[in-house]
Symmetry: C2
Subunit: 223 residues, 2 copies
Amino acid sequence: MSTVKPTRTGDREAGEGGSAYHHGNLREELVEQALKLAEEGGLSAVSVRAAARLAGVSPAAPFRHFPDKMTLMTAVAEEAMRRFRAEIALALAQEVADDPMLRIRAIGRAYLDWARRNPTHFEIISSRRSIDFEGSPSLGRENAEIQAQIEALLLEAAQRGLLRCNDRHLIQIAARALVYGLARMLVDGHFPSWQVADAEIEGTMAKVLDLFVDGLVKERAAS
Amino acid sequence: MSTVKPTRTGDREAGEGGSAYHHGNLREELVEQALKLAEEGGLSAVSVRAAARLAGVSPAAPFRHFPDKMTLMTAVAEEAMRRFRAEIALALAQEVADDPMLRIRAIGRAYLDWARRNPTHFEIISSRRSIDFEGSPSLGRENAEIQAQIEALLLEAAQRGLLRCNDRHLIQIAARALVYGLARMLVDGHFPSWQVADAEIEGTMAKVLDLFVDGLVKERAAS
DNA sequence: AATGAATGTAATCGATGATTACATGATTGT
DNA sequence: ACAATCATGTAATCATCGATTACATTCATT
């Protein structure tokens, strides 16, 4: 009547106001709390029960909204992917350069930056065991959109004769493998084995990205 | 008395022969069974209890040999790493080419090949959450030896003027990021999102590797 | 208001990692 | 040969987790 959505009791964000049997927004609250758990304690800290606890609800309550843990994690991944995509889109919008390879590099940097700042969220969207990627249209769509953006940039680069290799699909897989490998080396804690200190990680990843992109383009005039 | 090793009851490989209270070789048996569990059911199928079950021993027995699960998994990782290294060494020994970049590519192929055939074992040695990498001299040493081999090859390549970039450490990180990314994309099941069928994976990975290595070398003469 | 669907609770199950007290048997010193 | 000692395995138990079932409560619609 007074609230916008007729199907909801009302916002209980403050936590203690209204009558407490029906939460009113449990589904989204659980996703949010799961994201928080992931941030603070890593992937292993995310449990259905812990999310329920944080939401102030019984251990069985989440199963009214998600048939199993994987479905909850998939919803978490969808939210994380939404943020990931938004940040990539922002970086691309801020890259004023006309050079398509520079724009691809900007995407790569945004990718690595987000993974560095949200390691567990990155892990969640990358996993195919804790989430049902195939079963989520949202995840598939967002992923395909990133691919399409890069494909367009590669096509432009090819038309300008910048590329050393004609197989753009292969280039794209290579590019993704490189940034995915870097990001996973980071979240998996491999850099200490490479004598790369934490403070150097960002710079190292940027230089590796440059090295790779330079290797893609046809012989540059000079340097 | 009759057996070779005086400190052991004797081989109980067959399973039912001798007196059964003391297993005689539990530690190694547990590692072996854990490897088997990993092969057959993935990382999540590996549990201390399951390994104990397969070894025909009580759920608490493993904790006499490993203080916690992570220590068991670290021992598993050490055995997996040993096999991994052996296969890389074999591939390198079989590569007759004198070209250091071809030798590096051979290492990359062996790396990817092993990961493709032993996805869960690869996952275990790559993880830094289920194992204590830093706490294992064996793991650190084997990893450092691979790095040293590649460093030597890169140095040779640099001396022959083959490299486009002088920072060999950076090249090595990039190379590792690429193969690690490819291997993890495989293990994590990303290739379906890239329209790469299972049968094409091996070839695709090889081509991506070539694309990368070609990008490292100074402008080739012709095609 | 009454009814039925949506949503949350309570109780319970089986599996897991881990700990403690106890049992067994092999090793070793005399 | 024998007994002390230590390594190794067992039994029992705990807390946590994912999951299910039966029941309670609230909301929306009639």
